[in-house]
């Protein structure tokens, strides 16, 4: 389940040290964030556009731990 950068476009990324597995992200952005067996976000590392990029931007702002961020290029 390694998430390697696969696209030069904007990707959603997580700081796993900051993440506490609160899980708001997968509720707000089910098309972008999956959950592992323990409730921590799994990100595909693919480039995001359109509605999915909008979801990603929302969860970056919504994460109580500020653990999510957008990576460009």
């Amino acid at each position: 389940m390694r998430s390697e950068p696969r696209d030069a476009a904007v990707q959603l990324a997580v700081d796993p040290v900051a993440c506490d597995g609160i899980g708001i992200c997968s509720h707000l952005a089910p098309d972008v964030v999956a959950m592992d067996s323990w409730g921590f976000p799994v990100l595909s590392g693919e480039g995001l556009r359109g509605a999915r990029l909008g979801q990603a931007e929302r969860v970056v702002a919504a994460c109580p731990r500020r653990a999510l961020f957008l990576r460009r290029g």
């Binding site: 389940m1 796993p16 993440c19 597995g21 799994v42």
Partner: protein, 445 residues
């Protein structure tokens, strides 16, 4: 302080006289050094090279004449890579720190996280000046005023040698970078690069997720060149010899029944040569070998006995020498049992910062322990495979990745054992538990 030299290894040298031969004959460590199965207190009498002895062998170090451009080219030309286990190209790392434009910090990482590794302790205890030469050359190339030598607490013999070396150099009055010796707690992660940077910046010695590379912003936000002890020693050799005369070599820690031996081998040697140092000539060949330590890979002995001691050669087979640990498994011992013990240690060594590691690693370790005890419950093997996939690559540091590598290669290499344990709860080798661990595992601290 000359002790009679007790030498073991392929290139035995019967006396302790300073080496005065041609430079290309010199490696980082021209003697073999023996350690107990765990710990960094040496158990053999090799001779420590003080500054006089060191300069007698190598001649005095010359400061970079051209701002370091030649050394950078030479590092790239010989393809030097980091010997802490990651094998990142040194020239690229040095260049990235140098691009920061000065005010950098050089960190010599001597906190060997892998408990079976002793090569850095050997180098710092016997050839400390080669390491400090490399660190000083690095300081000149990347523009650093400070060098930090980072060690485990309690690594007293190593620390004494480094501090003595610093005093010897200070007495010469050369205007080298200031060398600071700092220590962190002796646990698996305190040599992890981001944990070192975090600790040196005043935080806890635990990994952190770095959105900006350490080379750009590391210790207290300064550009930081952090590399393994052996890497600096090799850089010092490249600096001395130039690329044309540099001899590629690798320090290995080879585990035996009663001790470990640290030796320097070249790509002309094979893993069989390394293991022969610790293997009774009249006994059956090992069945498998653990390469690179707890976070390394298992390999069938027949697949790797002829492998050259050379990271590019190992990579060509999809493996890595990691930090140079070679642990042979006797034919009648159970590699799965070894793996279960190591996984329990790794799970207990987690910094408990990242969910997949905090929850996933104990789950993996428990399932492998259940597999060893056998028979395995319905769906357990599927769960184990799923957890391994879910943990891989998802921590802030590489501890979980190493654990996954260990487990995945164990399941593959010991597939026959897996089948018997899982179905019948029996071990092909009889219960080897009473014989003690082949690969020693400390208490997780």
């Amino acid at each position: 302080m000359t002790h009679p030299l007790r030498l073991v290894g392929p290139e035995e040298r019967p006396d302790a006289a300073p080496t005065t031969g041609p430079l290309e004959g010199l490696g980082v460590l021209d003697v073999a050094v023996r350690f107990p199965r765990l710990g960094s207190e040496v158990s053999s009498d090799a001779v420590r090279h003080d500054l006089r002895h060191h300069e007698h062998s190598f001649g005095p170090r010359r400061p970079q004449a051209d701002g370091g451009a030649r050394l950078l080219r030479d590092l790239q030309h010989v393809g030097l890579t980091g010997r802490g286990g990651g094998h990142f190209p040194s020239a690229r790392k040095w260049q990235a720190v140098r691009d920061g434009g000065g005010g950098a910090v050089v960190v010599v990482n001597g906190a060997e996280g892998e408990p079976c590794s002793a090569k850095d302790a050997a180098v710092l205890q016997y050839r400390p000046h080669l390491v400090l030469d490399g660190a000083q050359a690095a300081a000149e190339v990347v523009g650093a005023d400070d060098v930090v030598v980072w060690l485990h607490e309690g690594a007293d013999a190593t620390r004494r040698s480094v501090e003595q070396a610093v005093l010897e150099r200070r007495a010469t009055g050369r205007g080298d970078a200031v060398v600071h010796v700092r220590t962190g707690p002796a646990h698996y992660l305190s040599g992890e690069s981001s944990a070192v940077v975090r600790g040196l910046s005043g935080g806890p010695v635990l990994p952190e997720f770095r959105r900006v590379p350490t080379a750009v912003s590391g210790v207290h936000g300064r550009a930081t060149l952090l590399s393994n002890v052996e890497t600096f020693a090799r850089a010092a050799l490249v600096d001395r010899t130039g690329a044309h005369a540099y001899r590629a070599a690798t320090l290995l820690t080879v585990l035996g029944r009663s001790d470990r031996v640290v030796v320097e081998l070249t790509p002309q040697h094979t893993l069989a040569d390394a293991v022969a140092l610790q293997w009774p000539a009249d006994s059956a060949a090992p069945s498998a070998v653990l390469l690179g330590g707890y976070g390394g890979v298992w390999a069938r002995w027949d697949d790797v006995a002829a492998l050259r001691v050379d990271e590019p050669a190992a990579r060509a087979t999809g493996r890595s020498l990691g930090a140079g640990i070679v642990a042979p498994l006797p034919a009648r011992r159970c590699g799965l049992g070894e793996t279960a013990r190591i996984l329990a240690y790794l799970a207990a060594s987690s910094a408990q910062q990242c969910g997949p590691c905090m929850f996933g690693l104990p789950a993996v370790a428990d399932l492998v322990a259940a597999l060893v005890a056998g028979p395995l419950g319905r769906g357990d093997r599927r769960r184990l495979d799923r957890f391994l996939a879910e943990v891989d690559g998802r921590g802030g540091c590489h501890l979980p990745d190493g654990a996954v590598r260990l487990a995945v290669t164990a399941l593959e290499v010991f597939a026959d054992d897996v089948a018997v344990h899982a179905r019948r709860g029996r071990c092909l080798h009889g219960d080897a538990g009473g014989l003690g661990a082949v690969v020693p595992v400390p208490d997780a601290g």
